[in-house]
């Protein structure tokens, strides 16, 4: 199941309908704080892609300059940048300078006391809008479970930012589902009628309906509704030449 989009829509509605004066930055700051509390990390922050493609710092677990700098310096290079551009997690278990990958970022991070980084993409339906970054004083990686939870938190962060799905989309999708369900019901009813008349099983009954639909270039739902409405007899379904309306 697509957890991301479920999370997205639910929390956005939450934001719109359940909470007064919802402040996206507040929630993102809270999420960063939760990362630090719940996971084995020492600092967390969110950076987002601007429309022109640069990453902007949005929120973090701490107001300390030490932490803020980690994000401000990632304008052109760094785990955030790589993560946001590839849409894949970027991990460095042990930051060591000199670093070919991040020649400016890594020495600054080490100078601030951080020795490992885990950057998680904030994605929805193939679009990466930014990254959630986790920094540790110790080297090493976050355990799998923690990484899953962190991705979950990144997903939550994504949804607090993206726009509300228009009500029209939901209405349209629901109408499509409603229609699909009705079609299916009619087809099953027609199968029953064919199965009883021909004394065959449901699969064979369905094959008869499908064959007629193909031979006459009609949708199977239409054929089924004609059978159910007794506009076509089952025998003419099987032997179109013998009786029933001309095809």
């Amino acid at each position: 199941m697509a957890r991301e989009s479920i999370l997205v829509d639910t929390l956005v509605e939450l934001a719109d309908n359940l909470v007064d004066n919802f402040d996206v930055i507040d929630v993102l700051n809270l999420l960063c704080e939760r990362c630090v509390e719940a996971l084995d990390v020492d600092a967390a922050g969110v950076m987002l892609s601007s429309p022109t493609g640069e990453l902007q710092f949005i929120a973090s677990s701490s107001e300390s300059m030490r932490v803020l700098e980690l994000f401000q310096i990632q304008a052109d290079e760094g785990p955030c940048v790589d993560c946001a551009s590839t849409g894949q997690p970027v991990v460095s278990e042990s930051l060591t300078a000199p670093d070919e990958r991040w020649p400016r970022f890594t020495p600054r991070a080490i100078a601030q006391g951080f020795h490992s980084v885990h950057s998680l993409p904030m994605r929805l339906r193939g679009r990466t809008i930014g990254a959630l970054n986790l920094f540790r004083v110790e080297t090493g990686v976050i355990a799998d479970e923690g990484a899953h939870m962190a991705q979950g938190l990144a997903d939550v962060a994504t949804i607090t930012i993206l726009q509300h799905r228009s009500a029209l989309d939901a209405t349209t999708l629901n109408a499509q589902l409603s229609h699909a369900l009705n079609s299916r019901i009619i087809i099953e009813q027609a199968k029953g009628m064919v199965a009883q008349t021909l004394n065959c099983d449901m699969d064979h009954a369905f094959a008869q309906l499908r064959k007629f639909a193909r031979d006459h270039n009609q949708g199977i739902t239409l054929v089924a509704s004609m059978v159910v409405g007794r506009e076509i007899t089952v025998s003419s379904l099987v032997n179109p030449a013998t009786e029933g309306p001309a095809s």
Partner: protein, 258 residues
């Protein structure tokens, strides 16, 4: 002013935490019982009820079961479909939450047919929440307790949140399906049972009835013989029972060999 901001931050945090719990449960349930589908079992566990049903209410107004968290709940939804009345039906039609702390309790006069039978099936408290997104009305989430119990504010908030997640889950599963078809992902998650409709087609031919009259006949016979609608439908489809046209009687068919 500050108190308001603190209150809304707290609300956002609480709601976020409850949502994370829902998704944790969804992940766990999907791995544990992949065949069963997770939405209903999660709904029951998250809201701390004994049973949960999710039903769809399409334009045709034919209430359709999507899933149930256990056999008892499934029977209760079938009962509603058979009788054409009940909490799920009311929630779908009125778009309001339906709350019954004690079925058959003092002053409780709703559902003259459904209530006593539901109680006989073990239900005491029932709460039905419409599943909606904006103007889109999908169906209802119905929660049961075998023993009477009020709905606390937290539980009510949890149920609303669950209904909200269910709404999006259903539409998300359906999105991308070819026009006119139920999405494969949704079929996997749900427990659609179309046996009743297959049986209606058969009975329509057996009894020279319209399919809608055949459905009525199936429901009536289910009620009269106190057997579940899908149980009866299965017997029709496997040709162990048929409907005779001349005298409107249901005949059991006995096979001499298997």
């Amino acid at each position: 002013m500050l108190a308001g901001r603190v209150a809304s931050r707290t609300k956002a945090l609480v709601a976020t935490e409850r949502l994370l719990e829902i998704f944790g449960l969804l992940a766990r349930h999907t791995h544990a019982t992949p065949a069963r589908g997770s939405l209903c079992s999660v709904a029951a566990e998250f809201t701390k009820f004994d049973g949960a049903n999710i039903a769809l209410f399409p334009e045709s107004k034919q209430l359709t079961a999507l899933c149930s968290s256990n056999a008892a709940s499934q029977s209760l939804l079938e009962l509603e479909i058979t009788l054409g009345e009940g909490p799920t039906t009311d929630a779908c039609e009125s778009d309001n939450v339906v709350c019954v702390t004690r079925l058959g309790g003092e002053g409780e006069t709703r559902w003259l047919s459904y209530a006593p039978l539901a109680m006989a099936n073990g239900a005491t408290s029932v709460y039905a929440f419409p599943i909606t997104i904006g103007a889109a009305r999908l169906g209802a989430l119905t929660l049961f307790r075998w023993e009477s119990g009020e709905l606390s504010e937290e539980q009510e908030a949890d149920a609303y949140l669950m209904a909200s997640v269910v709404a999006r889950a259903i539409l998300d599963l359906q999105a991308g399906a070819p026009r006119g078809s139920i999405a494969t992902q949704l079929e996997r998650e749900a427990h659609f049972s179309f046996t009743v409709h297959q049986a209606a087609g058969m009975v329509a031919v057996q009894g020279s009835l319209s399919v809608s009259d055949a459905l009525v006949a199936l429901r009536a016979h289910s009620f009269a013989t106190n057997q579940g609608l899908s149980e009866l439908a299965a017997r029709v489809v496997t040709r162990r029972i048929r409907y005779e046209a001349r005298d409107g009687v249901w005949y059991e068919v006995y096979r001499s060999s298997e």
